[in-house]
Symmetry: C4
Subunit: 211 residues, 4 copies
Amino acid sequence: MPTFHEAQTSVIELAHFAASRGWLPATSGNLSVRVTDHPLQFAITRSGADKSRLRPEDVLLLDADMRVQGDGPYKPSAETTVHVALYQKFGCGSILHVHTVYNNLVSELYADQGFVEIRAHELVKALGHWEEDAVVRIPIVPNWADLPRLGSAVAEAARVDVPAVLVRAHGVYAWGDTPDDARRHLEAVEFLCEYVYKLDLVRLARGLGAV
Amino acid sequence: MPTFHEAQTSVIELAHFAASRGWLPATSGNLSVRVTDHPLQFAITRSGADKSRLRPEDVLLLDADMRVQGDGPYKPSAETTVHVALYQKFGCGSILHVHTVYNNLVSELYADQGFVEIRAHELVKALGHWEEDAVVRIPIVPNWADLPRLGSAVAEAARVDVPAVLVRAHGVYAWGDTPDDARRHLEAVEFLCEYVYKLDLVRLARGLGAV
Amino acid sequence: MPTFHEAQTSVIELAHFAASRGWLPATSGNLSVRVTDHPLQFAITRSGADKSRLRPEDVLLLDADMRVQGDGPYKPSAETTVHVALYQKFGCGSILHVHTVYNNLVSELYADQGFVEIRAHELVKALGHWEEDAVVRIPIVPNWADLPRLGSAVAEAARVDVPAVLVRAHGVYAWGDTPDDARRHLEAVEFLCEYVYKLDLVRLARGLGAV
Amino acid sequence: MPTFHEAQTSVIELAHFAASRGWLPATSGNLSVRVTDHPLQFAITRSGADKSRLRPEDVLLLDADMRVQGDGPYKPSAETTVHVALYQKFGCGSILHVHTVYNNLVSELYADQGFVEIRAHELVKALGHWEEDAVVRIPIVPNWADLPRLGSAVAEAARVDVPAVLVRAHGVYAWGDTPDDARRHLEAVEFLCEYVYKLDLVRLARGLGAV
């Protein structure tokens, strides 16, 4: 497991990666890397930071009760509840939460069904599905204003074989054993959300209905 | 409040940010940061400057009558009237005016209604609305050729709780207490305009009508 | 007027600008800056160069008969005929020819009509139209395989008050008195092509017909 | 022909180019440059590498049986079978395999027909077709899970006059005599896929049917 300093550096690299793609608009989103397991401690971006200009002091060390370890003027993001719930369920090593237009569109368009299904697409391999004819369902949960409830909803909906959950008209949580795994999962989900939206659009125009 | 030199540096940073996203095409747009309140003075990009290559001398110090303070060959933009009107109404610290395809599309599509409504979307928090079920209406005004009239129209339409106004087939004005606040508001509005357009498109294709 | 060396530097800067936006795909496009008027000489990108990696030797000095002035292994682009025709008609200082998906789409969708009309849009100011209710028609010509014929067709269609011509399913020529003017005109045309396409799409989905 | 070291450098440059455009999401895709012909040896990206951060040791030297030449901890990608099949059929110098939303969309929308046809478009010149009224058909093959079968299918579908094959809901293979040729072909195919999708969409909205 990484030291806090190593986790802090990883969070800054992840922020640079996601911000350069425009996935953290208007200081939204938060990114974390686990430091210890028992008791749980993790490094996470503070509330309100502009991730395109993230400094080391913008990355906090928190415990499972969202208490900041060490000094400093900054507060954790209220959405940290979701990170805690996912770390406790999966014991994963890194969690990324971003807002994009395409994950927002898919989360809204498939909200009633509770999931979006990806079928017969190569990139499900990047989500860990190498079997032929793999079908992947990414869960979609309501955007509960109560953040402990949102944390529970994401963790309950999360499946062990699909490392991402969409929150309706809000964004996505993606995770992995390492920061690189989390990043790969997130890139795959973003690609697939753009693909699903654009394929639905042309299929509807053709009169075939959405995928 | 910042010195003129500090405000000038902020304007250059804001120009770098907005130009890197392509939000200031064809030397359009203008960006300002307030220096003093009584009497009003603010730093603003000059008319016709390419913001991707902005130099300190491209940022002018103006007063409420749009007179340039100090020497130099450059004129203020005629749209400075809108900045003056907004500073006088809100006492805000920074105003950003940019042109994007998505804010243009939304301003055109919802012009007759006079506003575009954002409902049940997470990013309204970035506009200052943290209440559950928040509904935000961003005003849309006609693109008056008479610029004092445009300034009045924007200032009259502007609501204290929504830090942005769309001008039809022209662009957006967004503001905030600080340059960072104005930038966060602008990023949120741009995200929401792209989202509204793309959601409308697929909903129309589904036969459901626009949002 | 610039020296050849200055014009060469301007061409390299223009190539950097246009390539960074993806407007010169697959070594396509060509960019020129006039050096002398009588007789006409201009600096222009050579045939087949990758503009994202342009070197000084990739910029040739040509005369009105497309003869290379000076030594070097490289040939001019066959499309240089269009540059000659435009320089001779307008005496302008710089010409930019790029290929983008949106200018291609608009050139195809409005080909039968022979022009695309821009009405009630702020960015026509960047094309030199500051009058209220300005209407700008950008001509569209067939993509003649015979390049002297293409040069004549572009120059004939070109209007003194609209500094751009679209070539069907091919690209755009935009020009100006200086490299900065040409660049501003090109940025405005590209913005407007994307806007026209996306507005047409949603208006068609609404059942209103294209603009 | 290049040395392995030169080919390795070319692969890293190609990876930088394609990753900067977002064409290698989630560690997908692979890029190769031939070193020798008889027996065949080529430099290729290893399995699972993030191409935006490619290091020299991520580029392997392989033979026609996909055996790694030299030491090192890394495995070749299973998709290397397709590279071998194309090198053996065409004797080309470089092969690029990338995943993009637009090549995925076109591969899905035209899968039943087995090809997508490009007609009356300037950029077919970048694919080597300079004749007037050129028509180019880019083949589309099923995404066989069995990778030797995929290699055979791509090589069988590949035409000597069209340097690219689409794999359904997976990606594209493009090749050329040199790395620059392969890159030019790939850029042209990506441009054309985006164009075909967006033109189909508006034509369907107009009620005209796809191209």
